[in-house]
């Protein structure tokens, strides 16, 4: 969120004095862009364009980095910088000594996740899934938190990013199901025949329920996608709308007087956004582990 940068943009903008196009301004801050505004008014950096890749029948795809891609790489780097030294320190530390500082906090979160979320939901063999679930949680958390910092944006406010994460979770769940149940057992999760039904009844049930089961498999990643995307986008939209509301007032005096309660409310909503950032990352990772547990114990 970059209210100050928005002020600067407003001064240099093409709107006549007193006119504010709030919708366009909010959209400009929320959606992907081909330029990055550097912090502390250092200017804007134009990102490269046109790294076209010909995918044959799928058409031509532009793989040039945009603002959200840069933010994703930044979130990934943040995670690496925090956790690789933490892992090395955990290896080197003697048995029984407690970790300190930031590493201690991160280790507490990691252990909480591994014990309460991954092991509880997946059961035996849970340690194989723990790295992915933990990576998912901390990556999404970093992306969410980068949206709350001035001049930042949350890459999870982009439907493509959350859809890609949900597709990764979907692949994990289905492959885990196939490996745990075997191919025949996995097919039985779609073509399900209840016990005690034979003949025409069983055939009808399979024909009617197979599309429903298939759609059920697809709605779970869809729900993950839209939940994370909508939470992030709605929160940031609310904050931008509140901030921009100050600038829709006519005179500077009225705007200043109205600005104080509006800013107080915006700060309260930012605190809520902080909570929502943690909660949505937690929910995404927890639901992924719940789905893995469900399909592994489907028999």
């Amino acid at each position: 969120m970059s209210l100050l940068a928005w002020i600067q943009g407003q001064a240099a903008g093409a709107e006549p004095a007193g006119e504010v196009d709030l919708g366009a301004l909010i959209m400009h801050h929320l959606t992907d862009a081909r330029e990055i505004e550097l912090p502390f008014f250092l200017g804007t950096v134009q990102l490269p364009q046109g790294w076209y890749v010909n995918l044959g029948p799928l058409g031509v795809v532009d793989l040039a980095p945009t603002k959200h891609v840069v933010l994703m790489v930044l979130a990934a780097l943040l995670c690496l910088i925090v956790f690789i030294p933490l892992a090395r320190a955990a290896q080197r530390r003697e048995e029984g000594k407690a970790p300190g500082g930031l590493g201690g906090g991160m280790e507490a979160m990691v252990l909480y996740f591994r014990d309460e979320v991954v092991r509880t939901n997946i059961g035996h063999g849970a340690d194989a899934f723990a790295p992915y679930i933990l990576t998912l949680f901390f990556f999404i958390l970093s992306m969410n938190l980068l949206g709350l910092v001035p001049w930042g944006g949350s890459a999870t406010g982009n439907l493509a990013v959350t859809l890609a994460l949900a597709i990764c979770s979907f692949v994990l769940v289905e492959v885990a199901g196939m490996r745990a149940l075997g191919f025949r057992g996995y097919l039985q999760t779609v073509f399900f025949v209840p016990e005690g039904m034979t003949g025409i009844g069983a055939f009808l049930i399979v024909v009617l329920m197979a599309p429903v089961e298939f759609m059920g498999k697809l709605t779970k990643p869809f729900a993950l996608t839209v939940r994370l995307f909508a939470n992030m986008m709605a929160g940031h939209t609310l904050i931008f709308a509140l901030g921009g509301l100050i600038f829709t007032f006519g005179s500077a005096a009225v705007a200043t007087m109205a600005g104080i309660p509006i800013t107080a409310m915006a700060i309260a909503i930012m605190v809520l956004e902080l909570f929502v950032a943690f909660l949505q990352a937690f929910i995404f990772a927890m639901l992924t582990s719940v789905f893995v547990g469900l399909i592994r114990h489907a028999h």
């Binding site: 839209v226 939940r227 995307f229 909508a230 986008m233 929910i283």
Partner: protein, 97 residues
């Protein structure tokens, strides 16, 4: 009951966009988006309210299980809020169309 309401809305939209049928459609789209958002928030409020009631009653009956009940309550509230935000996303799309 909805029939006279629809007639009134259509009359209002036509009066507002009397010279331009496209803007009449956008007026109705904005109206629909506003109504939809309000109804979605009502649904979310009711659902999360019920979760709040059950959570506090559970903690009151058994304070030792307070931590687990609170965690479950927060998770369920986030799931219901996800459903409400489905509606919000559709409203955003409607508002722009």
């Amino acid at each position: 009951m909805s029939h006279p309401i629809l007639a009134i809305l259509q009359g209002a939209a036509e009066a507002a966009g009397a010279t331009d049928p496209a803007s009449a459609r956008s007026y109705l789209a904005l109206l629909g988006a506003g109504l939809g958002t309000g109804l979605t928030v009502i649904g979310a409020g009711l659902g999360i309210g019920r979760i709040g009631a059950a959570t506090t009653e559970g903690i009151a009956r058994q304070p030792e299980a307070g931590g687990k009940i609170q965690t479950a309550g927060i998770i369920l509230a986030a799931l219901i809020e996800g459903a409400a935000l489905f509606g919000l996303v559709i409203m955003f799309l409607m508002q722009q169309a």
